[in-house]
Symmetry: C2
Subunit: 275 residues, 2 copies
């Protein structure tokens, strides 16, 4: 049996149906005591009110998502993203999030300059790290699946995330998110998870459906796909990670359409059988 205290649900999984308050109540109703908080849901009530709700429910925030998108072209857009990053750091500190998840951003306006976009993102992270450190927040950079390189994330592999962490030398203010969906295909997976070691700030879980129909919104419930989730979880925990296992499912055609209470019940069952 996995420890239920380490089960978290990222609220994107019930995003369409439940507000932050409803998600906190709903997860707690089923005995789930940790949540990944989504920024636009928090914006509806503000960080201070959210912090009170979370505290009153005894809910741990395993991750606060998403920030970053630092590949914006032009100085004004880049500065605006840094301002957003600083707001996010404040919010993450207010709600006591274990980490603030940073997505690098994709290629903007048809640009082909992948190396330039990567350099820009590194530059942005370097600017944000002192603020994160001052606030006691960990910025967790998340490599997304390479199919999202153009649209969302020029950071495409865990190896690259590890390289960035080494270059940025952010200490406790910088970590990585490992989401099985993004990295399961990687031939360097075993070595790079071990290398990530104490940098692993969050571990996210869903499944890759054999008949995937969409590049972003067709993720599967753990156990419904082809990822050997348990094997990857063991690698992550062998690397020293002792935090939550956060279920995060983007599923426009299936799970987002279901009764959220049923979704949470299914997650609780699959946590034991497939994670």
């Amino acid at each position: 049996m996995l420890d239920e205290a380490l089960l978290s649900i990222n609220q994107v999984t019930t995003l369409e149906r439940w507000s932050l308050r409803q998600a906190i109540d709903g997860y707690a109703r089923h005995g789930v005591r940790a949540i990944g908080v989504w920024r636009d849901k928090l914006d509806e009530i503000g960080a201070a009110a959210a912090a009170k709700l979370l505290r009153d429910a005894g809910m741990t925030v395993s991750a606060y998502c998403p920030g970053g998108l630092l590949t914006a072209p032009g100085e004004a857009a880049f500065r605006a993203r840094l301002d957003d990053g600083r707001r996010m750091i404040d919010e993450a500190a207010t709600i006591g999030a274990r980490c603030a998840v940073m997505i690098s951003g994709g290629l903007k306006d048809g640009s082909k300059d992948l190396a330039g976009a990567r350099a820009r993102c590194l530059e942005g992270l370097a600017e944000l790290i002192p603020d994160a450190r001052a606030a006691g927040v960990t910025l967790a950079i998340e490599p997304l699946h390479p199919m999202l390189c153009a649209a969302r994330s020029v950071l495409t592999t865990l190896g690259m995330a590890n390289d960035w962490c080494e270059r940025l030398d952010g200490g406790a203010a910088l970590g990585v998110v490992i989401d099985v969906y993004n990295i399961w295909w990687d031939p360097n997976l075993v070595a790079e998870i071990a290398r990530a070691g104490p940098r692993i700030a969050a571990f996210q879980v869903c499944d890759w459906l054999a008949k995937t129909t969409d590049l972003r919104l067709d993720r599967g419930m753990p156990g419904d796909g082809v990822i050997d989730i348990r094997a990857i979880r063991k690698l992550v925990e062998d690397a020293g990670y002792t935090g939550h296992r956060e279920i995060e499912i983007f599923s426009a055609r299936d799970w987002w359409r279901r009764d959220p209470d049923d979704v949470v019940r299914t997650i609780k069952a699959r946590y034991q059988t497939a994670v």
Copy 2:
């Protein structure tokens, strides 16, 4: 100006409209003198008849596609795929193809055993290499984009293809295909293309559309997407490759619907401006 003699078109680009005979005639009509041949189109007339058509038209076969799919579970299915591989080698020899493109295969029947599927594919390639060598054919293994890991290709990176080539030690009977669509996102791209060096048996080109809608059939015409194709071509040629630049576009919603003569005209123009 790029040398037009090195422009090839993979017939999958006009697959829905043109038979092999029509493609040979159509490409030749526009002065294109090389073709990537698709197996089910060749099957319609047989290898000997195809060889005569190609010879009469003075058409070079830059690649013969696709074979492999060696991750089949169970001994009988695996043996059947090896038999298919041997037929493909014979056909490739008959039509004088520069290489026979081998796709590794995906995860079958919901299997989660990625390492096992990779080992199985390696085993199959090791069995086929002596036949390829005897026939004077190069088996060109092609890493596909990681988004196809479950469906088509457990071989997900050029680095892994290079590792396999080193382990299999196939000499001239074994090479790699570099298709910009599959590898453009890879942070190790520069090093792995250089490492591939004389192993590069084919170079395929299309573009990644910023708003991609499908995991397999929504590739773009060179110049319509975000890949810095010219930069990758230079890396490939700096690594010693002197062969064709083969345009290969899977495009169910766009290019497959157009008049094939217009498609070929567009390719010829984009070959100079975007490749």
